[in-house]
């Protein structure tokens, strides 16, 4: 520790604490995310949302896949599951159906959810499964070294596209919208207040909710493309973002250095999977239908 002194002049009340602290497995901090990575920022917003939504934290389950964002499950002090690559959503489906009282949140990255996990995303959205999907989109496969992801914009250099990506990229909010998600929003890690509010909204809303959060990966994505560090990226988000609530999702594509349309795009009412199941069973079976027990196998 340097001998230099820091000028700090605040008096800190003895009983104060960082609002994020009770939500963390503090015995595992410091985390593995890089300097300037936005994943931790999204976790702060998520904790504020959990507090504001009045969630019973014993009933919140976090399910992650594999990747940098996939590590969120391991740092949050809730029932949390670090599953296989791309399969957080079907795991979450089983978890939710076995115990519908749980608030099941899938917290994973763009590659995990939309490449290997793409099939599961579209079906869970189609079914309007009552799970919330928080997707931190850093436009790359960060954990494995910055390879092309389905979200990597054209002309970007990646580890597997050293001459520039030429594949068209997914527009995640359009995909979620098209598959039938009940709630679709996009923010960046710059928009901490709005993101926390969106997360609170999605936690309170039944059905398949999806929030995309554009986030820096300064070590790989930004560095390889000479786009600066995390701070530079946050300044770019601030300058390039345009809040357009309700914009048609087809007009919200991301590009290498262009405009970022953020906001809430979809917020619709649809019966969720469990409601549909119950309705169909009641209609077909009448009082022969036996309601599943919560945590259904009494052992």
């Amino acid at each position: 520790m340097s001998e230099q002194l820091l000028e700090i002049q605040c008096e800190i009340p003895e009983d104060s604490f960082n609002p994020v602290e009770p939500f963390l497995r503090t015995d595992r901090i410091p985390h593995i995310w890089c300097a300037g990575c936005g994943i931790g920022t999204t976790v702060n917003c998520f904790t504020r949302a959990l507090l504001a939504s009045g969630a019973n934290l014993d009933k919140v389950a976090i399910v992650s896949g594999i990747g940098c964002t996939g590590r969120v499950a391991g740092y949050m002090r809730m029932d949390s599951f670090h599953t296989t690559h791309g399969r957080a959503i079907p795991f979450a489906t089983g978890l939710k159906l076995a115990n519908p009282e749980l608030q099941v949140v899938v917290y994973s990255g763009d590659g995990d959810l939309f490449a290997i996990g793409g099939n599961h995303f579209i079906h869970a959205a189609r079914r309007n499964m009552d799970i919330k999907v928080i997707c931190v989109n850093n436009l790359t496969y960060a954990m494995t070294g910055g390879q092309t992801a389905p979200t990597t914009p054209s002309h970007v250099i990646s580890a597997t596209a050293p001459y520039g990506v030429f594949e068209p990229a997914f527009n995640l909010v359009q995909l979620a919208d098209a598959c039938g998600a009940s709630y679709v929003a996009r923010w960046t890690t710059f928009h901490v207040k709005q993101l926390a509010r969106s997360m609170e909204e999605v936690l309170k809303k039944k059905g398949f909710g999806f929030i995309e959060i554009v986030s820096p990966c300064p070590t790989l994505y930004q560095r390889r493309n000479k786009m600066g560090d995390g701070l530079d990226t946050m300044k770019y988000y601030k300058q390039a973002s345009k809040i357009r609530h309700g914009a048609p999702t087809g007009e919200c594509s991301l590009t290498k250095a262009g405009e970022i349309v953020v906001g809430k795009f979809v917020d619709r009412e649809r019966p969720d999977y469990y409601e549909l199941l119950q309705a169909q069973m009641h209609e077909s079976l009448g009082d022969r239908y036996a309601e599943p027990e919560v945590g259904c196998s009494e052992c």
Binding site: H82, R288, V294
Partner: protein, 385 residues
């Protein structure tokens, strides 16, 4: 504890193996199933879809086997007994998640109604060519339990056993049916619920501050927990310590992975489930399982009529392999004859256990139908010379 009567279809039935297997899952207490259609297994979940809404539970047809094989694990951690059903190509897709179930010690059941392979193979015809895959199909070191019914009645009975073993050992259990057993229709007797023993999930009674989800007690098997009870636990497929936290170092790897295998040792050998007859004076032991064991039964009878002292060693639990039983037998018989509906899989385990002390004669078959008993008989007679 006794089976929940809601799931027990007590009575005398005429069912095929797939249907009997489904009744077994319900009697065992399964209240969640996820599946994906694949011949010749689909009837298991079709019946479950029909039955479960009046028993009380959920069936969901997932979008693929990758989803089905992990949805069941989510359901287990949500508190349900759960299973999925598939055949060869789907079994291959499920391999990653079998490994996940093994390292996270998630009790669940995978039913594989085996068909001709590899790849799309013979969708409607029997084979037994996934036996090694059941044991070794996922990457890394881990153990599983595999059971081989040879009749619709056993499809019912052994499925309950499979669920019970999954709970006891916190391990994925493979029910290795085949298309013949799955699609043959026979009498199946389902007893009253209070005649059926069901192993309850061993939930912890420790308070959250003291409980570690991967800390074994004296049995090498940790107590279980479910989401929503305030334990705030973590489950990961990464190598983890007793708290469930990723701990990616050599010492933790050694401790964890050895325990995954060691915890099954009480089930191998001493508790191996096998069906034997005529071994006291046998000169040739016929080792078989599943549908082949019924053909072998005929061959053994014919051999005895010809004066050859053939004995039956039927594997009901194929994995962990009952090597001590085979090793003991190897000291007493001239030869083992191992008919299988594959080009040689369990025969290698027999060879390994026999360690050269007796001849081991495979009677292989590329699959598609069952052996002709005469072929097995010929092998027995040759082996006795």
């Amino acid at each position: 504890m006794h089976a929940d009567p809601k799931g027990v279809l007590t009575g005398v039935h005429f069912l095929d193996g797939d249907h009997a297997c489904c009744e077994g899952t319900l009697a065992a207490g399964a209240r969640f199933a996820a599946g994906y259609p694949i011949t010749p297994s689909t009837e298991v979940v079709e019946r479950f879809a029909l039955r479960i809404p009046t028993v009380g539970g959920v069936f969901i047809q997932m979008e693929d086997e990758l989803a089905a094989s992990i949805a069941i694990q989510g359901a287990v951690w949500g508190g349900a007994k759960a299973f999925t059903v598939t055949s060869g190509p789907g079994f291959s897709l499920m391999m990653e998640h079998i490994g996940y179930a093994a390292i996270t010690e998630t009790p669940c059941v995978f039913v594989n109604v085996q068909r001709g392979g590899p790849s799309t193979g013979l969708p409607t015809l029997p084979a037994q060519a996934d036996m090694m895959q059941a044991r070794w199909g996922s990457h890394g070191d881990y153990g599983i339990i595999a059971l081989c019914p040879n009749s619709p009645q056993e499809c019912f009975d052994l499925t309950i056993t499979g669920f019970n073993l999954a709970e006891e050992f916190r391990v994925p259990v493979m029910m290795m049916l085949d298309e013949c057993v799955g699609h043959m229709t026979e009498k199946v007797i389902i007893p009253a619920a209070d005649q059926i023993e069901v192993t309850p999930r061993r939930y912890t009674h420790k308070p959250p501050a003291e409980y570690h989800p991967f800390e074994p007690d004296g049995t090498q098997v940790p107590e279980m927990v479910k989401a929503g009870d305030g334990y705030r636990f973590h489950v990961t497929g990464l190598t983890h310590d007793e708290r469930g936290y990723p701990s990616m170092n050599v010492a933790t790897q050694d401790r964890l992975v050895r325990r995954l295998l060691d915890k099954l040792k009480p089930f191998s050998n001493g508790r191996a489930i096998c069906d034997t007859a005529g071994l006291e004076d046998a000169e040739v032991a016929v080792v078989s399982y599943g549908i082949t064991s019924r053909v072998a039964q005929r061959a053994i009878e014919l051999a005895r009529k010809r004066g050859v002292r053939a004995g039956k060693f039927r594997l009901i639990s194929a994995w962990p392999f009952p090597e001590r039983h085979i090793a003991d037998l190897a000291g007493r018989v001239k030869a083992f004859v191992v008919p299988e509906l594959n080009l040689g899989q369990m025969v290698h385990e027999v060879e390994r256990a026999a360690a050269g002390r007796a001849r081991v004669v495979p009677v292989s078959h590329a699959g598609g139908t069952v052996h002709d008993p005469e072929v097995i008989l010929k092998a027995i007679l040759e082996a006795a010379k």
